[in-house]
Subunit: 249 residues, 2 copies
Amino acid sequence: MSGWLCIVGLGPGDEQLVTPEVSAALAQATDVVGYIPYVARIAPRPGLTLHASDNRVEMDRARAALQMAAAGQKVVVVSSGDPGVFAMAAALFEALEGQPQWQTLDIRVLPGITAMLAAAAKAGAPLGHDFCAINLSDNLKPASLIEARVRAAAGADFAIAFYNPRSASRPDTFVRILAVLLEICGPDRLITFARAVSTPEERIATVTLAQARADMADMRTVVIVGNSATRQVGRFVYTPRAVATPVLP
Amino acid sequence: MSGWLCIVGLGPGDEQLVTPEVSAALAQATDVVGYIPYVARIAPRPGLTLHASDNRVEMDRARAALQMAAAGQKVVVVSSGDPGVFAMAAALFEALEGQPQWQTLDIRVLPGITAMLAAAAKAGAPLGHDFCAINLSDNLKPASLIEARVRAAAGADFAIAFYNPRSASRPDTFVRILAVLLEICGPDRLITFARAVSTPEERIATVTLAQARADMADMRTVVIVGNSATRQVGRFVYTPRAVATPVLP
């Protein structure tokens, strides 16, 4: 028995953004576990079993993966982007709690290109100075905490990347966040909507907060709000490395 | 003349973490431009000229790369990690300012595995919930702004990744930041020091803020401070996806 478990990131969509380390793990795997659209990215082959499951069953999926690795299988849990950013790695470690028999397994996390880095690269360099990443899904935390974090981040002049900005079940969260940003950052602040980056459906648009509307985003969109120095040059948007004059006392 | 310019990320060190997209750009390049240790990672070959330069000449390097691309050369500017995170992409766009003749060039940014993602993966999943990335180099901004951002981020219960935590020329910045974190987050908060991730010199250590000392970090270290829920399970450190109870009003 020499089972193992890798939690890997497939990047944003383009196979050219999958690291060789992840490709090697997939080539050795006996079992691939994950959310349906991510497992669909894995080419079937003899000796490989694909276990696709629906969204919101992350804990069941993590336990099943651990059980298979404990039974000697070579298991890859796939996430899009990076597995450690709003993805399966944290769920896997939650499933390890109170399960000492699984904690000695060969478990590795293999990083990937997370959506905000792919989006920033396509737009230019809007994350070129200090920045935050905030998941706007309120399944996992109260809306009041999301708003407090947005206020803290914008108030301290961080650029901000928003994951999962909007879904049909909670259309109002992002409307509220855009209003908070407009209040703190003013109408001229640049905001980039990057949808389905690196896929055939890719669409990148940079507008001002005055022009931004919540329906410019969906669940396949990463939204990046610049800091007070973020600017456009040619077709690009970027945040300068240096702060020319102190923004805060 | 069909010159182009790619600003690429080589990842943290291991060649298995270089994306195929970046490898393809390097295979087609006529010129590679960058800081000495990053250019040293590129294998010489006939038809490829390596242009290695010292640190702190980013603007000269960016202009030279643009001039070569404008002259029809195929130029790759290399950064470690991701080029858009505290690296060459922002410098390149700064060099484009006021230079309309360069703004129509074929310029692309190719993302890479940034240090905090590689470090987090090796440690577990400490960035599994909302987080910030802060560059502690005070060459580019005043120390007061750095401290204000750390206070805002810790106060709003973000996990925080620190780049460039410490150098010989400014040993006191990180001492001060650790004191601020201890004040806001308390002695039991987990902090991970990840040095030279994915290289033979890799060293990962997770301690509490009470145990943390500034000399645990150097310029090759990324430091990740957890949020109030970050915990250890087995040999891993991770931040749960959900907030059990609201931390802020």
